[in-house]
Structures are given as structure tokens and as C-alpha cells.
Amino acid sequence: MLKRIFINRLDEKRLLFAATLILAGGLWLAYKALLDRNTVSPVLPAVILAFSFWLTHFILCIKDCRGDQLILPLVFFLSGIGWIEVFRLEPALMMKQFYWILLGLAVFVSWILLYRDYRWIEEFKYFSLLLAVILQVLVMIFGVEINNARLWFKFGSVYFQPIEVVKILLVFFLAGYLRQYKELLGSVPGQRRTFLNIKYLAPLILMLGASLLILVYQKDMGMALLLFGTFLTLLYIATRRLDYILGGLSFFAAGAFLCSKLFYHVRVRVDMWLNPWQDLYDRGYQITQSLYAIASGGLFGTGLGLGSPGYIPAVHTDFVFASICEELGFLGGAAIILFYIFLIGRAFSSALKAKDEFGQLLGAGLAIILALQSFIIIAGVTRLIPMTGITMPFVSYGGSSLLANFFMCAILMQISDGASR
């Protein structure tokens, strides 16, 4: 057993080691810079966090897991950076985020230990769909409203966003359904290629239409964009039909245009994207503050803890990337994007290596969610696309998002583990 700890997963070991050093340095800088302001020391939780990731690594070694060796170090790095940012921006939330990361890691480990295989998920595709719908309906009825949007369940002092689970459940369903019906949905021999197989497409469109409607009703534009994008991309992967994508995109564009005419909150987002300076002190405030922060970063940034990202409202959730750009500069911001490229690259490569089609679709679906979500938020914060409230995977403050992302990575580990056996 001891031997396994030393000889298994050598790449993971080296990368974890590098990440530990870098994060320790980062925390030290932030701690030094904020010595006056923070009364609670981050040292003990930091040590526990690092130890937990190492422990996870050792468990994977002992259990002879052959899953991808880059995923765990990348997750450690991103969630570590996120935790340091929470400590730097909202010290009061540091411990909460700490517990969420530990919980996420626990979900990650126990899922891998509990299930060696992921293929059974396919059997539960309709159950996943049902569960997703139930969760969405429940949050509409019993959810609590924050900032005018009813997206959260509240348990005591803990908030939970069910959509984070719903997005994964929908990927389960889509992967299973598309695996089964992809021939029927795609080009069927003997029929014309333009034929739209309504019978098999209908459940898909209905399902998605319903969840999107709920999202529009719940004013969660970012998630709507994410789910729709994932759906279309998976559909293309399964059926080879680019016309679905094009049709879907035009449908989405028309829908977005209509929404911007019909719904005030959508129009605001678009207006503030086109010209945030027209309403500087009200609706354009957050995005202009974000741009000031990013632009003042330069190449190297001001240094951790030495900038003024606190001017951006809600900086620790949606705008954490702007804070990174200000204090760590272009190098820091680009590094974070590169880490996402690595993580998403490993997710896609796990999907590619999977021996079964369900695994390929499932892996691709999870990879797409990670990719779209990080793209939507980073592009939103930098005003490349309209800003939609959505979390930055592993980095933003927020428990449900963290748990969901750890869970997704656990499944990706299973897929890559299965592929190399």
C-alpha cells in the first residue's frame, strides 16, 4: 500500500507540489498585504485545505485510480486561488468557502470510491430529467429571492442554488437520450438530409424550452445561455447535424432579441454591454468598475492585496476575475484562462478516450459546461459579451457551484479511469 503512494500518479504528485508552493506564496502575499484588516488568520484552514487535496491524491494512489492526473492539481490550483481571493475580498466569508471546498472534495472522493463506473447513470436518464424538473419547480415555489431572482433554497444560514445540480442532471439525460436516439435524430439512411425528425426531437426541444422558460422567468440569463449552448453543442456532436446548431442559434438570437424588447432586466444587460458609460452611477456601475479594475492591472498587476477591487459591488462572486486582473495583471488573468484551457482540454480528452458512446457524450457534455461557463463569465466581466450573473468555476465564492464542479470533475475522473483500463 505504501509503495502505491510513492509510485502511483507521479505527474499528479509533481503538479500538486508545484500548486502547493505557488498557492502558499500567494496566500503569504495576501496575508502580508492585509495584515491590518484581517483579524482571523488563514494559516490553519490553508494547511487543512492543502492537506485534504494531498490526502485525496494519496487515496487515488492507494485505490489505483488511473483517471486523468491533471484534473486534481488544476482543481486545487483554481479553488485555492478562489479561496485566497475570498480571503482577500471578503474575509468574513473565508471560513464558509473553506468548508464548501472541503465538502466538494469529500463529494469528489466519495463518488470515486463509491462508484468505479459511470455507465449506470445512463439507466437513470429519465429519472435525471424528472429530478431536474422537480428541483426547478420546487425552487419556484419554495425558493427565496435574492436580488430580485428566485434561485435559492435556504437551509438555516446556508443557501443552495439547485440549478447547479440541474445542469448536471440535464447532461446525464442528454447524454443518455442522445446515445439512444442519435441515429434517428441525425441523418437517417434513405431519407433526405434536411428532414427534421420531429418525433424524436420534440422531447428534447420541449424539455429545453421548459427549462429555459423557467430560467427567463427566474431571470437567470447566464444559466439559460449555458444550458442552451450545452444542448446545441451536444446535439451537434451526437448527430453531426450542423443545421440543428444553426437553426438553434438563430432561434436563440431571435429569442434573445425578443427578450431584450420584452423584459426590462434583459434590456438592461444589453444596454449596459453596448454602452455602460451612459448610466454610470446606476445600472452601468458594476461593469464600469470592473473595467476600471481590469484596465488598472497592466502586465504585472498591483500585487495581491494592494489594488482596490473592493470598488466593484459583489466582486467576490461574479467579478472575481476583474479582481485577479487588477492585482495579478495580464499575466495573472491570462494564467487563469490557461488553467481553464488545461482543465477543459483534459475534460475533452477524457471524453475522447472513453470506450463507450455514453461516456463520450457524458464527458463532452461536462467539458462543454465547464468551457461555456468559464467563457461566459470571463467574457462578461471583460465586456466581450453582455454580463450575465454566473459563477466562475472553482474560483467564485459560492457553495452550490463549488459542489457541482467538484462532482463534475469526479465523473470526468471516472470516465478517464474507465478509458485506461
Binding site: G297, C325, A334
Partner: protein
């Protein structure tokens, strides 16, 4: 299908590369025009003046002047008030209220209200918040001057609301010459950078009898009619307690014990009160507890109950032994007795205003605790009045005003005794509490009482 998965992967890689390119465009090409925008708070932060610190009447204590295009921090009262105001220095950072109020003084405070930013920009008033302290500059000057460069401290407070009216520490330093004097200041054995009023720990000597008396009367272990006989010394085990100056007080009642400051009597009072009732009041008076003062206060030192011997308890009864307090702590005990037994929370900030004059924060008078009952407070007050009229504190008498006071002459390992005096006036309607300590200078009644008197006269002058 794998082919399409890898196409999708490539598509996303392309998107992210695009994102990096766009980010570099934003941070290098577009950055100058974005950061130069007139509403960028970072720009405003750099261009705007640090807020001022004022006394309760608006007299300037610290301000930022623009000399030849450069900001310079100016301290009109110089060394007289550096114990309160502290410094704001590019090299040495901040201390005192400059540090405590830094988030307010620095423009514009985080998080800020967008509409307020708009109003400030429109009015062209780019400056930090202004802080108005409870300090009375006139009294502060009098307090500092009365120390006459001797090592010591003065605390003046209003017992009815806890407002600190003056807080002086000597020797002091002038924050304007910090750079020039730093080597000298840090090397000086008399520690001019130490704020003695809140960070200097001293044996309280006989001023602490106010505490002992409170504990004894409140716990019901002593009564006003109790009598003691003093032969000038008292043997406890192998240890002999002496009366100061070889006095023999003979037969004294409780009042006489305080008025003539009889150590033998107070040693017995402390022992009769017992350890736990005696030590309990350190928390009631917030001597060892943090009470959220604007500046960091060094907690008083009390022996733990487990290790406190009978001799130690007897010594503690007259403020010797292991007990160490700061001048602010003695002012708090006196203030509670003056204010009918209710201790008001000492505070230094009166109100904070933004550059437009809007009130941002206002400190209300708050009750910290009620360590003494009204009856006991009245009894102790009467004794203190007699101590000034016919006892050890006659040097503090003011004609036409009833003064209540208590002397202290604290033995210490550094040589000559520390002179203490705590007082309040007018005794029947107290407006001012004064606490004076002058290190290694002799007797409290002879050295500290006249200083306290001078400050009381100044404070009660119409």
C-alpha cells in the same frame, strides 16, 4: 462522433485564445483611456485629499495641505496631541487615530454608494471623510502642558457620556518631524512613542482603594461603620506591610481609612472581601476586557485567582503587588463612581462627515456596565470629597467647587514612587473626571494633585 468532440474542443480552445487576446487588448491598448476616465475611483483616490481630524469644536488637529502641488500632512497641535492623533507617514505607516480612522480619512471608503460618488464629483469635492473627535483642544493643551515634560500621562473624560476630553502622554513627539527624529525617538529610553495613557501599565497604588472599596461594599463584606486599628504596620505570615511615611493612623473607621489612605486597613478589607469577590470587579470595570475603544488599550494585569496568596491579596487591596493598570483604566473606575455607579463606554469619535458635510457615522453615548450601585457610589464619593477637604488630597481643593479625589503613591521597581491622582468635579454633579500619573516623582498628594487641580480649573472655566 470522436471527430466532432475534438472539433468542439478545438472550437472552445479558439474561443479562449480569443479571450486572452481580447484581455491583452483591454489591459494594454485600451487601458490608458479607461483608467483616465474621470469617475475611476483609483484616480480619485490618488488625486484626493486625506480627510481632516478635528476636535469637538472644529479646531483642526490634523489636515492635509497642498504645498507646491504635493500633499503634506500637517498637525497644528504637534506633540501636544500625538498620543491621540498619532501619525500618517509614507515610511512609518499610521498610528493612533490616523490609523483607527484610516478607512474613513482615505477617499472614498469601500464600498461606496454610486450616487454619493456622483454628488461628490459634481461638487468637485474630492476629499476623504472628516472626523470630529470628542477631544477638547483647549483642555488637551492644558493637560499636556501641565505635565511639564515629566514622564507621565493625563486622561480627562466626561463621566456622563464617556467622551474622552483629553488624553496626554509625555514625553511626546511631533508627527511632522517623524522622519528626522525617528532614530532618536526609537532609541530614547523614555519611550516617547509609547502612549502612556492607554498602553502604559503601572501599579495603581492607593488610587486603587476605590476599586477595593467598591468590591468590599458591593459584596457586603464591609459596612460603613466598620473600624480598624492601625499601628503603622501589619504582619501577614512572614510579610510586613508598612504604612507610607511611617504614619500611624490609630483607630479609623472606613471613611477615615480612605480619607487618610490607610494601607493597613485596606489590606484587611481586601482579605475580608476574599479573592473571588475582589477579582470579580476587574470584569465589571472592563479593566481586563476589551471594550472596543477606538485605540488599542493594553489590558490591565491581575493575578489569577489560583495563584493569588493572602499576602498578594492584601497588597492588591492598596494597589501594590501584581496589579498593573493604565491611566485610562483608573479614569474608568473613577468615572463609574462619579456617574452614580454607571460606567459609560469611553470613546474618542464624535461624528464623521463626508466632504459634502453629510454625517456618515455618529457615536452615541453607551452604557458599558453598572459595576457599582448608586448607594455605594454615593458613599465612596463622600469619602473622596473628604479626602480632598481634609485628607491626603488637599492640594486639589478649588474654592467654590466641591472636588472628589483620591491620591496614590505607587512603589515600583524603577526607583522613586509614581504620583497618582484621580478626581472628579463638581462632586454633586460631576462633569469632569481627571486621572493624572507622573512617573517616579514622589507623593500623589504633593505632585499629581496640583496637576489635576489645574486641569479641573481649566475644564470648569466657563
Amino acid at each position: 462522433m470522436k471527430e466532432r468532440i475534438s472539433k468542439t474542443a478545438q472550437f472552445f480552445m479558439f474561443l479562449f485564445v480569443l479571450l486572452i487576446l481580447y484581455l491583452s487588448y483591454l489591459q494594454f491598448v485600451k487601458a490608458p483611456s479607461i483608467t483616465a476616465h474621470a469617475t475611476n475611483p483609483r484616480l480619485i483616490e490618488r488625486l484626493s485629499k486625506r480627510g481632516g481630524i478635528y476636535d469637538r469644536r472644529g479646531e483642526n488637529l490634523a489636515r492635509t495641505l497642498k504645498i507646491k502641488g504635493e500633499f503634506k500632512r500637517d498637525y497644528p497641535l504637534g506633540e501636544k496631541i500625538s498620543a491621540v492623533v498619532g501619525y500618517d507617514d509614507i515610511i512609518y505607516g499610521e498610528s493612533g487615530m490616523e490609523k483607527a480612522l484610516d478607512p474613513y480619512l482615505k477617499y472614498p471608503g469601500i464600498p461606496m454608494d454610486p450616487l454619493l460618488v456622483k454628488r461628490i464629483l459634481e461638487a468637485g469635492k474630492w476629499a476623504g471623510y472628516d472626523a470630529y473627535l470628542t477631544i477638547d483642544a483647549r483642555l488637551q493643551k492644558a493637560a499636556f502642558d501641565s505635565l511639564e515634560n515629566r514622564r507621565g500621562a493625563v486622561v480627562v473624560m466626561d463621566p456622563t457620556d464617556g467622551a474622552i476630553l483629553a488624553m496626554a502622554s509625555s514625553p511626546s513627539y511631533n508627527p511632522e518631524y517623524l522622519d528626522k527624529d525617528w532614530q532618536k525617538l526609537t532609541g530614547d529610553a523614555s519611550s516617547p512613542l509609547l502612549d502612556r495613557a492607554i498602553n502604559g501599565l503601572y501599579p495603581p497604588g492607593s488610587t486603587f482603594k476605590l476599586y477595593t472599596l467598591t468590591a468590599a461594599l458591593e459584596s457586603g463584606k464591609e459596612e460603613l461603620s466598620d473600624e480598624f486599628s492601625c499601628s503603622g504596620y501589619l504582619d501577614i505570615g512572614n510579610y510586613r506591610i508598612h504604612e507610607a511615611e511611617g504614619h500611624v493612623h490609630g483607630k479609623v473607621n472606613l471613611t477615615g481609612a480612605l480619607v487618610y489612605s490607610c494601607n493597613v486597613a485596606f489590606a484587611q478589607i481586601a482579605m475580608k472581601t476574599g479573592k473571588s469577590d475582589f477579582l470579580k470587579f476587574q470584569r465589571e470595570f472592563f479593566l481586563t476586557e476589551d471594550f472596543g475603544f477606538d485605540l488599542p488599550v493594553t489590558p490591565a494585569n491581575f493575578p489569577p485567582e489560583e495563584t493569588l496568596t493572602e499576602t498578594g491579596l492584601a497588597q492588591s487591596g492598596f494597589g501594590q503587588g501584581e496589579i498593573l493598570v493604565t491611566p485610562l483604566h483608573m479614569a474608568m473606575i473613577t468615572s463609574a463612581i462619579a456617574n452614580k455607579g454607571t460606567l459609560m463606554k469611553p470613546h474618542l469619535v464624535k461624528v464623521i462627515k463626508n466632504s459634502l458635510g453629510d454625517i456618515v457615522m455618529q457615536e452615541e453615548a453607551r452604557v458599558l456596565s453598572k459595576p457599582v450601585s448608586e448607594g455605594t457610589a454615593g458613599i465612596i464619593k463622600d469619602m473622596m470629597v473628604q479626602a480632598v477637604e481634609r485628607g491626603t488630597g488637599t492640594a486639589a481643593r478649588i474654592s467654590g467647587i466641591k472636588v472628589a479625589g483620591k491620591t496614590g503613591t505607587a512603589e515600583n521597581p524603577h526607583g522613586v514612587t509614581h504620583a497618582w491622582f484621580v478626581a472628579f468635579a463638581p462632586a454633586d454633579n460631576p462633569k469632569i473626571v481627571v486621572c493624572v500619573i507622573i512617573e517616579n516623582s514622589g507623593y500623589g498628594g504633593a505632585v499629581a494633585a496640583p496637576v489635576a487641580r489645574k486641569i479641573l480649573v481649566e475644564a470648569l472655566k466657563k
